[in-house]
């Protein structure tokens, strides 16, 4: 371990309580999306940067959804590493939670709050990593850029996508490191691609007792939900190296340990979620309309072009139904080299910190890192366990957070080399 790395780890050990407090404060600035207003949390991050002498640029094409960028250079030229996280989080159905979803409560070694996994743990980590590395920049080569964006949870137009369209030069680098949840046992190098559709069922309707006079839009919608499950059985043609990697029992076991039992099994298969189902006016009226929103995740080796006709055929069996696509615009499952340099740097850093070497993984959800991959920038993700992401009482183990912070710092320091 180089002297600057030891110095960084010592700084992190000494500021342990402040690191935890910073994460807690970030959780206490609600930023649910919808509606997507991240101003309070963004202001909190901006203050931290300014106080460290790193006044950021802020771009808010949508006034409630600011995007923050800050950069510094080491004394010598070198490579350019970009750090990325998003500020918005999923919404909350408060009655489902036992703890305050915006409280940042600490109990039993865990910290609770909406966004803890996804992704304020990783966001706090890259923010503090950026500040710590800035403090030792005389030992670094090249450039480090920090990007904290809005509008990610709905893959909307005002966050990273806007930044790539309008401030592309600020976003691009030689490599991207993201703090999205991967679990500390895994490093994410690729992701599945979502396709989202809305299905609308219509029938005549009428009085609830007159079931002989009209079909039921809700009963038909229920049958469509069952029929859509067929997409999960479609055959997939994935690249050989990926197929081999995920068939390795040891790798699959560690993936399941980190990301949840069953995760490895679903990397190579399409999955179906029925995210919303809504229809009918009153209990005693035959419903004349019902709407379904479905979320399908395509593995590497399957494209939206392939699956669209399959969906069309399934839905065509129900003449009362029509459908439209709601998906974010980009189309292709994406991945970086599972044996690339930054992957190895991260794996070695984790080992040096005394934890098990993480395995490469393709996670099931999509992130903004895809935008860097489309631009040809290798992108890797290391962050918290995704186990309670989007659920009630979302939480992160504090020891994991502190470990992730150390990993981000070490990996960035090693990537940028030392003077």
């Amino acid at each position: 371990m180089r002297p600057v790395e030891r110095e960084l780890l010592a700084r992190l050990d000494a500021s342990r309580e402040q690191s935890i407090a910073f994460f807690k404060q970030l959780l206490r600035h609600p930023s649910p999306n919808p509606p997507g207003d991240t101003r309070a949390a963004a202001a909190f991050l901006e203050r931290a940067l300014r106080d460290a002498g790193l006044p950021p640029k802020v771009f808010a094409p949508h006034p409630h959804m600011p995007n923050i960028v800050a950069s510094f250079d080491g004394p010598a030229a070198g490579r350019h590493l970009v750090l990325n996280g998003h500020i918005d989080v999923f919404p909350v159905a408060a009655h489902e939670w036992n703890r305050d979803p915006w409280g940042g409560e600490i109990a039993d070694g865990r910290i609770y709050g909406r966004g803890a996994c996804d992704m304020k743990c990783g966001l706090a980590s890259i923010t503090l990593a950026f500040l710590h590395l800035h403090a030792v920049r005389r030992h670094l080569r090249g450039r480090l850029t920090y990007t904290a964006v809005s509008d990610e949870e709905t893959f909307g137009p005002w966050g990273a996508r806007w930044m790539f369209q309008h401030q592309r030069q600020l976003m691009l680098g030689d490599c991207l490191l993201s703090g999205e949840p991967s679990s500390p046992l895994c490093v994410r190098f690729g992701e599945k691609s979502p396709i989202w559709i809305a299905i609308s069922v219509r029938s005549k309707g009428g009085h609830g007792a007159y079931t002989h006079t009209s079909e039921s839009a809700i009963k038909i919608a229920g049958a469509i939900v069952t029929a859509l499950e067929e997409v999960t059985e479609l055959p997939v043609r994935a690249p050989d190296n990926l197929v081999a990697m995920f068939r390795d029992a040891r790798i699959a076991a560690q993936i399941d340990e980190g990301c949840g039992v069953g995760h490895a099994q679903y990397i190579g298969r399409p999955t179906l979620n029925i995210g919303r189902m809504s229809g009918g006016l009153k209990v005693n009226v035959l419903p004349s309309a019902c709407r379904i929103e479905a979320d399908i995740r395509l593995p590497v080796g399957m494209t939206r072009e392939e699956i669209r006709p399959v969906l069309a055929n399934i839905i065509a069996r129900f003449p009362q139904a029509s459908w439209e696509e709601l998906s974010p615009p980009e189309d292709v499952p994406n991945w970086s080299d599972p044996a690339g340099e930054m992957m190895q740097i991260i794996q070695d850093a984790v080992l040096a910190l005394g934890r098990r070497r993480p395995v490469p993984v393709i996670t099931l959800g999509a992130t903004d890192t895809r935008l860097w991959r489309y631009a040809g920038v290798p992108a890797y993700v290391y962050g918290a366990s995704p186990e309670t992401m989007a659920a009630a009482d979302e939480n992160v183990v504090i020891a994991d957070y502190l470990h992730i912070l150390k990993t981000h710092v070490l990996a960035a320091a090693r990537y940028l080399g030392t003077g």
């Binding site: 939900v225 995210g275 189902m277 005693n284 959800g365």
Partner: protein, 415 residues
């Protein structure tokens, strides 16, 4: 027919324009339920009753939902007590639907009267009001008593209308009840199926939309449960013998009145899923999904006949909970009782055919009398547009219902 019945028919013919205009104005007195405020519609009726000098009083345990009760005695001695019943609240209107005529217009056009509530059931309630008026004028020749009840709070089976009157005012009980809910002129209803309304809530952990292995899906489970609940409709429910005989007689008329398939489902358990709501966002596995089920029980079968079947299905889904929203017992009265015979004979004389006894698929306030052992019969117009758009009643049908009610009440109180 005796002379007095001819006089009654002649009076109805003479007053034809007034009777038609009355219903048109009644429809214009908006009374959607929800919210159920009927003060305008009740006021329309009380002004009429006052102008006609007819005895009545108002009872309003819920001030926005008043009820009219009026009674007079015949002058020809002791006899039977007939109660006329009709509700004045109507279904609401879906603002996104485009009607041929404004739903609150009471428009008179194309041989019909148009508007929300005209069939369900302002035509029938108007028939009750005119029956009360015409019989009051000839009360000297009547035996027994006639009571008029015009009530609120029926469309949601609420507590402030007929239910309240029956529980608190013995005056409304009587020996028989006549009601003008839409039965179509082809049938006389002697019984009705009963609603059992349930709410099922499915709760799961919920998760990110891509993590289908991490949490069961509340929406997928709800869809499965709904498909399994359909088996309710296969539970055998053979009709009690008297009912079976009446249904056999009434099959053709029921099909014509309520749509092909009506006679079969009259004696079957039916299931409607009226509402479903689940999930927050397309890309989250939902943690909650709720749906409301409207089960209709056929004559002779109470909720205990289907609840074990429902519970057995839900037992396979520990994430699901069941709540009962409302339940009533289906009930009926004698499909061949005296008033049924009177009505059938009058319609035969007026229109040349005999209406058949039939079972109502939907619920009415008539059940409240039948539950106390008081026979109640329903005869009214076609239910055209009931609960959807372009509700309307043919003028000829409306006048026929008025005539039938007037003559039948007269027969009941003179024989």
């Amino acid at each position: 027919m005796r002379a007095t019945k001819s006089d009654l028919l002649a009076a109805i013919d003479r007053d034809r324009d007034e009777i038609i205009a009355f219903l048109s104005g009644f429809v214009q007195a908006k009374s959607p339920n929800p919210p159920g405020d009927t003060r305008g519609a009740i006021g329309y009726l009380t002004r009429f009753l006052e102008a006609e000098d007819l005895p009545f009083r108002l009872l309003a345990p819920e001030p926005t939902m008043p009820n009219i009760i009026g009674t007079f005695e015949g002058g020809a001695g002791r006899g039977r007590h007939l109660v006329l019943n009709g509700h004045v609240d109507v279904f609401p209107v879906d603002a996104t639907e485009r009607w041929a005529y404004d739903p609150w217009s009471g428009a008179i056009a194309e041989g019909k009267i148009w508007g929300r509530g005209v069939a369900d059931m302002k035509a029938g309630t108007s028939a009750s009001v005119f029956t009360y008026r015409y019989l009051y004028r000839v009360r000297a020749t009547l035996k027994g008593k006639l009571t008029l009840t015009c009530v609120s709070d029926e469309e949601t089976f609420g507590p402030w209308g007929a239910r309240w009157l029956i529980e608190h005012e013995p005056e409304v009980l009587g020996d028989c009840c006549l009601n003008g809910e839409p039965s179509s002129p082809l049938t006389v209803r002697f019984g009705e199926k009963a609603p059992l309304w349930l709410r099922v809530t499915v709760r799961t952990a919920g998760a990110h939309g891509a993590y289908t292995h991490a949490s069961a899906s509340a929406t997928k489970l709800a869809a499965e449960i709904i498909q399994q609940l359909e088996t309710l409709t296969g539970i055998p429910t053979p009709a009690p013998p008297a009912v079976a005989k009446a249904l056999a007689e009434g099959t053709a008329a029921m099909e014509a009145a309520m749509g092909g398939g009506a006679a079969r489902i009259a004696q079957q358990v039916t299931l409607n899923i009226g509402r479903i709501e689940g999930g927050l966002k397309v890309n989250m596995i939902p943690g909650v999904c709720t749906f409301e089920a409207d089960v209709r029980l056929p004559l002779g079968y109470e909720k205990e006949h289907v609840l074990p079947h429902i519970r057995a299905i839900l037992a396979r889904y520990p994430q699901a909970t069941l709540e009962e929203i409302t339940a009533t017992k289906p009930c009926w009265c004698d499909p061949f009782g005296p008033m049924m015979g009177i009505i059938r004979a009058n319609v035969k004389a007026l229109r040349g055919f005999e209406p058949s006894p039939a079972v109502s698929l939907g619920g009415t306030d008539a059940r409240l009398w039948r539950q106390r052992g008081i026979p109640a019969y329903v005869y009214g117009p076609f239910p055209t547009g009931m609960g959807s758009k372009d509700e309307a009643v043919m003028i000829d049908d409306y006048l026929h219902v008025v005539r039938t009610h007037v003559l039948s009440a007269f027969d009941y109180l003179t024989s």
